[in-house]
């Protein structure tokens, strides 16, 4: 890489970004690479996502690719592309529809920020809000089945034989809940611009009720309607892996069951009844869903959600992240904390 390439680049300078990406891919593939049609997508709240194309033979025949960049001012900064990349590699051929992952680096000298390069998968993302979330019963049933099966397959994946094993050192069934509480408490303390007594109340309750996991699995971290692509009645890819980590499978289930993603219906992620989700999931994983553990992870999910909204306020007000979705998320801190208060009313 020449001297100019060592200098940081503005992430919105698409010409410079293309040139740097061509140089990086040429080194990785051992041949010259020409990039065309680099285009930023208006998706996601956190990583910056670009689509681009490389000439045939592409990478293993794939010519349409995705570049994701984790900017220093982003919602969950500072970023590392490693967990997402390693998780996607770990679930290849494990019946979890997901983009193929090709390259990653956390070195900002290469493209100006940590990044990953994956396959572009075709499809539309059904969203949980408004009329747009309505769908005919046969379509919903088909998506619900695949949604549940993909989650079960993810939680069945043997991460210990993959590159994720290094990230999982020291994670046990006994300490995994505590590690997650610690991580999100740390996030809250570095993001928040003021104190939220209900947040502290929820954290305290979690610390006093840590469950032991039946299994440590790969946890997507944001598994719900809105975070997968579908073509017709077929889910083509589960997306948004940025919160992936090792954890208790109840965590993804509780998140998928949050009222926020039910679109005003009684269906989990606007797809499936709680009973059907539980019974199919248990049959596919051999795990038992424990109601006390579900309550723990429901409260934990609300802690994550409130902390994410608090992060949004922080990046807008402190990091100058010019995105009006951030202060809009800030208005949701109180409703999420109120939801937590209600959920804890009977048990505190």
């Amino acid at each position: 890489m020449d001297q100019a390439a060592d200098l940081p680049i503005a992430l919105d300078n698409e010409d410079a970004l293309s040139a740097r990406l061509e140089a990086f891919l040429a080194t990785q593939l051992g041949r010259p690479v020409k990039i065309t049609a680099l285009k930023r997508f208006a998706v996601g709240y956190s990583w910056i996502t670009h689509g681009f194309r490389i000439a045939a033979p592409g990478i293993g025949g794939v010519i349409d690719l995705i570049l994701r960049l984790g900017p220093s001012y982003g919602l969950f900064a500072p970023y590392s592309a490693a967990p997402e990349y390693l998780s996607l590699k770990a679930i290849e051929n494990q019946n979890v529809p997901a983009p193929k992952a090709y390259f990653w680096s956390d070195d900002p000298a290469i493209l100006g920020a940590p990044f990953s390069v994956t396959e572009l998968v075709r499809g539309e993302a059904p969203i949980p809000w408004g009329e747009a979330g309505n769908m005919p019963d046969p379509l919903r049933d088909s998506l619900a089945t695949q949604f549940t099966d993909a989650l079960a397959a993810l939680h069945n994946a043997d991460w210990q034989i993959s590159g994720l094993a290094a990230l999982g050192a020291g994670v046990t069934n006994e300490n995994v809940a505590g590690l997650q509480i610690k991580a999100w408490e740390h996030n809250y303390r570095r993001w928040t611009l003021r104190s939220y007594p209900m947040f502290e109340f929820g954290l305290q309750w979690l610390k006093e009720h840590e469950p032991v996991a039946q299994r440590v699995s790969i946890i997507h971290g944001d598994y719900r309607l809105g975070n997968f692509l579908a073509v017709g009645d077929k889910i083509t890819a589960i997306l948004d892996w940025e919160l992936v980590h090792l954890g208790d499978p109840h965590e993804d289930l509780a998140w998928a069951c949050l009222p926020q993603y039910r679109g005003g219906t009684n269906l989990m992620s606007r797809l499936i009844t709680r009973e059907d989700l539980y019974s199919r999931y248990m049959a596919k994983t051999g795990l038992t869903i424990d109601e006390k553990t579900m309550l723990f992870y429901e409260i934990f999910s609300l802690i994550k959600l409130a902390a994410t909204h608090i992060a949004a306020v922080s990046v807008f007000e402190r990091n100058h992240f010019h995105d009006m979705r951030m202060p809009a998320m800030g208005t949701q801190i109180a409703p999420v904390l109120r939801q937590m208060e209600k959920a804890l009313e009977a048990v505190t």
């Binding site: 408004g130 305290q204 009006m324 800030g330």
Partner: protein, 161 residues
């Protein structure tokens, strides 16, 4: 629950300038955007959180402080909010008082968790009741003073309903 009104105004203005204006075509539409920026800059000089919005929270903190003070065997080391008899006049001072009060409430919750053995059961129950009453009143007030969410519109980029 956005934090600073001043930062909120600055962020909206910057978003309009940097993200929206460069993508607008036509003199009239761009002029409208500049008009919105000018209006926001003017508002920023005169607007603050309303005293009604902040005083309700201070009243809730004061009620909680009184409840905590009435718990005879709550250890003196327990953090608690301290409110003056008369509230200050500026929004900034009221806001600071609210933030200090929430800091104290948060410290009390953490302290309670780490000093369980030192708190008699009846005092712990009474303190728990006081904390929960405050939290409930604060959140109810926050929800009452929030606009209806527009996340479907924000996701889809078009008017809904």
């Amino acid at each position: 629950m956005n934090h600073s009104l001043e930062s909120l105004f600055d962020g909206i203005i910057e978003t309009l300038r940097i993200e929206i204006l460069p993508k607008l075509d036509g003199e009239f539409v761009r002029g409208q955007a500049f008009g919105a920026i000018y209006a926001l800059k003017s508002l920023k000089l005169r607007v603050s959180w309303s005293p009604e919005f902040l005083v309700e929270q201070l009243d809730a903190l004061k009620a909680c402080a009184e409840q905590l003070a009435a718990i005879k065997n709550l250890p003196a080391a327990a953090p608690r909010p301290i409110l003056p008899d008369n509230y200050p006049h500026t929004a900034q001072q009221l806001e600071q008082l609210r933030n200090d009060g929430d800091d104290a409430m948060s410290a009390l919750i953490v302290w309670r968790g780490t000093h369980k053995a030192e708190i008699p059961a009846d005092a712990a129950a009474a303190a728990n009741h006081a904390i929960k009453t405050y939290i409930h009143r604060q959140l109810k007030h926050e929800l009452k003073t929030s606009a209806k969410p527009m996340f479907a519109e924000i996701s889809l980029g078009k008017e809904i309903g």
